[in-house]
Symmetry: D3
Subunit: 239 residues, 6 copies
């Protein structure tokens, strides 16, 4: 099976990291194809960037010329999943929701460590809409921006571990989600330091997508995600 | 004061209807400027169309060359308000939220009559995120599409009145919100038939926006809607 | 248009402060009439006082001899709004709800700084009933009583600013509501110190009431606030 | 022990019915004293009447010259319990909450059959504030006013039984609460017709109050219900 | 009337303490019979132990040879109440729910001090299912295990008082529940130190059970707790 | 990898059906081992049976002599998952939660069709505890008991299809979960009749378990599901 894993920003090195994470998690026989939007921000840390990402991801998926079996939107707290579900016949998995679902299978309460504080409300909104908020007892920021996360590995680990320990000890968190695509690969260090399982949303999304494909299940088309009605669209395909 | 009222679709006749509704509600001295997106769908009844609208509205507002005091996003259940709040310094009001807020001031429970059933979940999501869902006891569809609403006035009134009466009588609804920009101007007929106050979201948004401007209040910039961080944006301004 | 702004306590100097705040916020052409209850407490900081206020406000409004277009109940966290809505044909706005609604238009989460800790649960109850609680992430007390708030201006500002900064920095608050009628006029100092917009409930209520009047909307009479059934009332008008 | 059971309206025959119900439920050695407000409505079916009841009940309790051990406020869906809790040192039980608590001990979901539809939202509000709403799956009206309930016994039973059966069969209700003080004594007929246990709020409140007194527990005075601060009160005792 | 009070663990000295607490709370004429499970853990502080307790309690009740009027399950945060309700015709009261109900009658918010941190989530789950969670603003652990609670009285009191004061001062708690059967008898010390009423779940459950029996109310048999359908059961009665 | 799939009742033919369903869903290389409890009910349709199942499943898993990688508890709405999570080091997946999670990935709202009405509240409770209730808009009963489901295939399909269509058309349901282990294999017929995707909880659980194993994730041991403390257990292993 072939799964498209779509970065939400235009930085190819982040796509590579995400793809590596996805491949490490994939079952034998799963082909992971990484896509990078043609337009949008080089990193997503805000609302406009997130809306741009919604269309940038959709645009790139619709242009993909080969068959595929599932799509993963690889941005934490970003918009766009509903549009993909409506536009596509294959199942769609968002890494924010995948992380929350997986963490929920592993402990009574989970928490999320993300990049900057300004992205916390976006993640809160995604979990609320997905109905996955009630067992999330903490969403906290490491204080490092998406691009800083990639720079100084030791600093990044230290910042995330510090926040992860804090929410395990003080907020009842039993499972940690790495709340940014740029944190891929840090799960072992964080788990070793906290004693708690650590969920990487990209890996979690791959597992969920593979399961849906194997069960031959895809997005319901009876109501919310029914194919779009015939419309006159201007300025599409973008840009 | 000048308020930009932005349609979410590319149909100029709908922009005209919305502007007429806004002008009828505006206080003396308020100038209403209607904007129509350069790109997007001719009517919004789905998720992709809604995400396109988010950017279409933003694009049009950012290109507007004159000063203005507030922005109203005139689509029921559409995405995009958060992006406008982040990008702009003036207050932003979404008509979905404006209608719900206003209805909440007038009765113990309110309900919404919208166009097609497929748009009900989008409205549910907007209210949930805004924390305005709990006193909304019914969101129902008239069964008429956005463009059909404009065609046969008598049929439109009959369809909306039928649903409005149903939710007043059976679901505890005390106030009706017209859940589609294309329903502007129907409030009197629906109110006469049900005995309940009827809220037009565009008018409600104008009143709220005027109030914010007069109080010199605008979107908080301390966290969620702080100005975007410096980023490399590709493919923007769109298209 | 004429709006009655009714203090919830019997201290005329507080009515004056409230009226000044309302007038500063009113649109040209809006006449603000301040009313002070004939009976009740000189300041409201508890449950019995709040129930007395409910009737004191109603009594004073019902005795008002001239026509009017809207009523504002100017007490933070007090009982009584439902009674006014039932008894009157004009729209009624409570300043607690007005502040929460307005703050909700300006940020992802808001907070309230009130007078004494014992009034926090009353405010919580009002927001819960109004369905406006979910985006309120903190209600905190300055520790100053209603009457102390009026005494030492510098101390008052310092106490409120300290609490406002605390909840902005630690509780995700992006907008501050001044949670006591006696805090009118402090918005600029608090906003300057925190960088967050500050909402004065009286001003917010004036804006909402003006909007309702201009839209010719008033309380629904189809169920909860239908006119009272014919009853034998003893001991009324009070006292 | 002596328990004051206070009617919320000024109709002495209803006080008698309530007292009879309370006495039938009381343990040996419990003295039930019935009180009727000096002022207020002859029956409570609305918001103003409910606020009047809050003060009418408080007034009557404060004037009671003998010692007593607990107070029961015998109105379904009425205001006032918080004021009593603040003003008194003995425990206070509201029959709405008592019925909901008791029903919650007997089944997975409970329902309430009340008098007129207009009182349903008041009951909803009381349960919401008390945190007792989630397991209440239906609040429905018999269509008979408070005073009509007392007139034609057969009609009253038939109306209540019809509604009770409906919510047992269609809304998952397993326990019925009689949602009006005037329904005292109908529990057996309703239980026989539905097969479900039927809770009379007055009896339930007596049992809860007796338990609190025997455990020597009373309202906490550490915060919400601390004694009122010294205030200048005008027009009190009312009228 | 005779009430069976069933310990959830196999330690007879704890049964004795629970029975003493129940007897102290019981009305004249109530006979308290203490039961200890034949199998299970000597103290319950985890999930497997809790499930064992569910069956151990049921087994012991079903084997009890004399008539009885009510059953109290005397474990804080344990499984099993639903099974007893289904299997028995008499009312069943769980001490976790009894404590929460009683605390809810005494203050705006309550809190629970339990033994070890690992039992906090179990208590959270019980309150959530019972719909009694919303007014519980804190569940905290003393850090002492169930058996340690019985050893050093002074240390136990000090640990519980410290936590109780903390949640009264910092988390809005107005009433304290002792969240472990082994804390029976500590209510006076904790109340003296905090100024807040302290609820002992065993006493609270006795009062509620007595009330239900006196009202001749028992578990509804119309749906969730209807008698079991005829089944082939293997390995029962256990062991 | 080896996954233990444990039936909750003692009927071996049902275990066979469940195992067949699990094997059909499993990835190549996954070995499915079916287990049947030594004690308990021949079908689970109530609370006592559910508690027995909790221990029956645990007993059987603990006795299993070979290594294994994950455990699936194959009962819809049954107790026991928390005990398995505490007792085991490998991940545990409950089919109720697995179905809800999977349905949540496929539509805006999902619904469940189960066997008898009396089991609906048990399923509600499981979803509530798992925080997976909010997007479930309907849980309905086919009216056929667990064992009847296996008897007349045509009648079973007709009963389930009728209920599934009802909730798709009237309750906003977009995805159907088959709410009973005995419904395995009916997904295609129900999907064909409703046009909605149909989730079989056993298949869904296999996919989730495989994913967790492949990601090397297991239950967090930092708090709720930490290994049991050393205890004196009587009567265990049961019976």
């Amino acid at each position: 099976m072939r799964i498209l894993v779509v970065n939400v920003n235009t930085t190819p090195s982040m796509t590579e990291g995400i793809v590596a994470s996805a491949r490490a998690a994939a079952a034998p026989g799963t082909e992971i194809v990484g896509l990078t939007p043609r337009f949008g921000a080089d990193s997503c840390e805000g609302n406009v960037e997130s809306y741009l990402a919604a269309l940038g991801v959709l645009d790139q998926v619709l242009k993909y010329p080969e068959p595929y079996d599932a799509v993963i939107q690889a941005g934490f707290g970003e918009h766009g999943r509903e549009g993909l579900q409506e536009a596509l016949d294959v199942p769609v998995v968002d890494i924010t929701e995948a992380a929350a679902i997986t963490a929920g299978l592993l402990g009574h309460k989970f928490g999320i460590v993300t990049s900057l504080d300004r992205t916390v409300p976006l993640i809160e909104d995604r979990l609320l809409l997905a109905g996955l908020d009630r067992r999330c007892s903490a969403i906290v920021a490491s204080g490092l921006s998406v691009l800083e996360l990639e720079q100084d590995h030791a600093r990044t680990v230290a910042a995330i571990v510090a926040k992860a320990k804090e929410i395990v000890e003080q907020r009842g968190v039993e499972v940690i989600c790495l709340g940014c695509g740029g944190m891929a690969g840090l799960d072992e260090a964080v788990s070793a330091a906290t004693g708690a399982p650590v969920v990487d949303g990209v890996a979690a999304a791959v597992a969920l997508a593979e399961g849906l494909v194997r069960m031959k299940l895809s997005t319901s088309k009876v109501r919310t995600y029914a194919p779009a009605r015939p419309k006159k669209l201007s300025g599409w395909p973008l840009p």
